[in-house]
Structures are given as structure tokens and as C-alpha cells.
Symmetry: C2
Subunit: 235 residues, 2 copies
Amino acid sequence: MSAQTLAIGLLLYPDLTQLDLTGPFEVFARAPGAQVHLIWKTREPVVSDRGMAILPSTTFEACPKLDVLCVPGGPGQIALMEDNDTLAFIRRKSAEVNLLTSVCTGSLVLGAAGLLQGRKATCHWGSLSQLALLGAEPVGERVVRDGNLITGAGVTSGIDFALSVVAALYGDEIAQAIQLQMEYDPAPPFDCGSPRVASAEQVARASAQAAGFIAKRLKATQKAALRLSNSACRS
Amino acid sequence: MSAQTLAIGLLLYPDLTQLDLTGPFEVFARAPGAQVHLIWKTREPVVSDRGMAILPSTTFEACPKLDVLCVPGGPGQIALMEDNDTLAFIRRKSAEVNLLTSVCTGSLVLGAAGLLQGRKATCHWGSLSQLALLGAEPVGERVVRDGNLITGAGVTSGIDFALSVVAALYGDEIAQAIQLQMEYDPAPPFDCGSPRVASAEQVARASAQAAGFIAKRLKATQKAALRLSNSACRS
């Protein structure tokens, strides 16, 4: 693996949360010589959960050998968890990459592909506990590394995550130069960006608002866990 | 202006820095009832400075009445500064919006449109001083408000900026809920994301690397300043 020719692939799928992908893309694309690929089944526009249409740059079939695969999150992850073509692509690529990675609920897709058994991983705070059903050890941190697996927590964590990935691949100096280029010296207007710092009332309100959707995601995670256990029994 | 039906427009132009747009998009699109538009001359895919292709959702001609206009930055801003169609569109919209806004070097485009005379504004740290040539008062802060003008600094500032815009339009509680949904509790791996905190050596290296491009941008800013002054003499 030469740092000059790294191929980094991001899965671009319907109903993803676009910032889970666009944050890391901006960081990765600034790494010297990196080729960043946006991968889906076809090269037709893919529409995010909130309506932004982005074009894939390659397909499962045409995708070159990757050094890094990253699966972002978002509501579309529920469909991916039982999409055999996507799970097979991720499994195939997981064998060739140097780093297997995810942002937000993308880690649940890695779990559904059977790739998180006994591994430490993170996820959006609202769905973190679901990782355990897929055999992972949930860790409530913003960026979690376990060997060749690096996972980021919810949405904006993707920027911290991607800088950590670049630091791991290219060294601190290049990651620091990118952080300065991107003026990443964050100053959030409020101190409420995770359950760690938000008020109990804010967390309760956010959880109540998301409850219906989280229950739907939980069902998909339970189904994926059942498929994993059945396939383990068969093998 | 009803908070339930706010129309927020982001200018999507060739060679923009996509995170300047995609960060704010993710925040704005979560505001209750907000309609977020990606605006360009045609609805053909627009390619960012680092190769991401995004589809506009409307055009200069078809764009509905906006409550907020946001101009992101990136190298393509140089061409915009002498693009009469774009400058005319921005001027026309500036008269109808409640908030005129920008991220990163998008503020230089607002300046080229003659909209920053005597106004406090910010920009990416590497080009901040150029604002003065366009009649603005450069302020080295991450988010700067001057009346109905809100500008954000470089790239990732767009997230802080957009949360501030949502707080201004919808109140703190809604902005805080969005910040928690997006798990925006940043933990950058390094403390070097602005000249304020980076080492002198890091800043010198970044400045040297960008010097050729910044000089090109400066020429465009000087030309825009000359056009503004000529048009002021004529009027």
C-alpha cells in the first residue's frame, strides 16, 4: 500500500444521511494522491434522506481494489441490512481493505454483514445499543478503533473520524494540515451535542421524537441478528 | 415569514467546496418545515473542487421566493466574482431574503455583488483580509452577524454557522435539538484547526502551500473591487 495511491471507497446509498458521507469525503479527498470513490449499484443519482441527489462515481461491479471502505449511516441503512448484493459487496471488500470503517449507523450494516463479531465499535448515540445484537461490543466514544476497524459515532463525528483515518494512514502531520485547511476549530453554539453533555430533558425529547423510527431500526437489527445466527448454525 | 414554511437556498456552483454546502444543508434540512433548495443555472450535475457531483434542485429562473440565501465557498468562487448572471441573481435575492449568508470564501462573492459595503463579515482564514478590498470589515471569528448578514469562516465553520442561523430563525430549542440529532459534540483529533491555535510552523506551511492560489484569488478580488468602484462612479 503506497500512501500516494490510496483508494478510499464510500458507500453511497438511497436514504443515507448525506453528511455522514460528505464530511469524510472532504477530508479523504484532501489526502495526497487519494482516490475517493462513491460506490453504488448503478451510477444513477442517489437521493439522501433529506433530498440531496449525489452521483456515484463507480459501481459494485466496476469498483477498483480499495484500501479503505467506509459505510455511512442514515435511515436507508435499514434496507441495506437485508440487501444481499450490498452485504456481499461489503464482505468481499472487507477481505481486501486495510481499514474497514463506518460512520453513524453504518456500523449496523457492517454488523449485519457479520463483520463485527467480538469487535469494539460505535454508532449514533440513539442506536448504539443495537450493535450488541450483532455481536459487537458497543463503545460510546466519538471514534473507536479495534485493529483494522475504525468506526465513528453520529453524523458530524464523521469529520473527527476521517481525520483519525488520515492520521492512521498518512501520519499526524498530513491530518493536521487538512484540519487547518478545513478550519476545523469547532465552536458549536450550544453544549448539547451528545447525551454526555445535553440535559436530561433534551435527551428525553430527542429520544421520544425518534422512538418510532428507532423501534423500526431495532426490528431490522433483530432480523439481521437472526440471519447471522442461522448462517452460523449452517456453517 | 412563518417558521413553518421557510425557504432556504444554497448556491451550488462548479468547483465549490462541497462541505461548505453539505454541512449547512444537513442542519437546515432538519429545521421543521424548511424547504432547502440547491440553486444553479441549470439542473445538470455540478462537480465540486474535489470531484463530487451533486444535482441542483432548482435554477436561477425557477427559484421560488427565499427567506435565506447562502453562498458557500471554494475555488469556483473566483469565476463567480465576475459572472454577471450569478451576481445579478444574488443581488436580486438579497432584496427579498430575511437573512443573507455565506460560508468560507462565499463572502467574497457577496462582496463582489456589492453587498458587503461597510458590513462586518468573515471568510476562510487564508483569504479573510481580501474582504476589506470589497468594502467589508473583516472579522476573524467563526460566525459573524451584522444585522441581516450572517457569514461563516472556513469550510467546517458551516456547521456552527448553520446552527446559529437556525437558532436565529427558529429559536435555541430547535437548534439544540438538531445539534443533538447530529451528535455535534466535536472532538477534533488535533488542536490546530485555525491560525489561532495551530503552531506558527503549521500556519506557515499551509500558507506557503496555498500561496499561488491565494494570489490568483487576490487578483480576482482586486478586479471585482475595481468593477465595484467603477459602477459606484457611474451611478
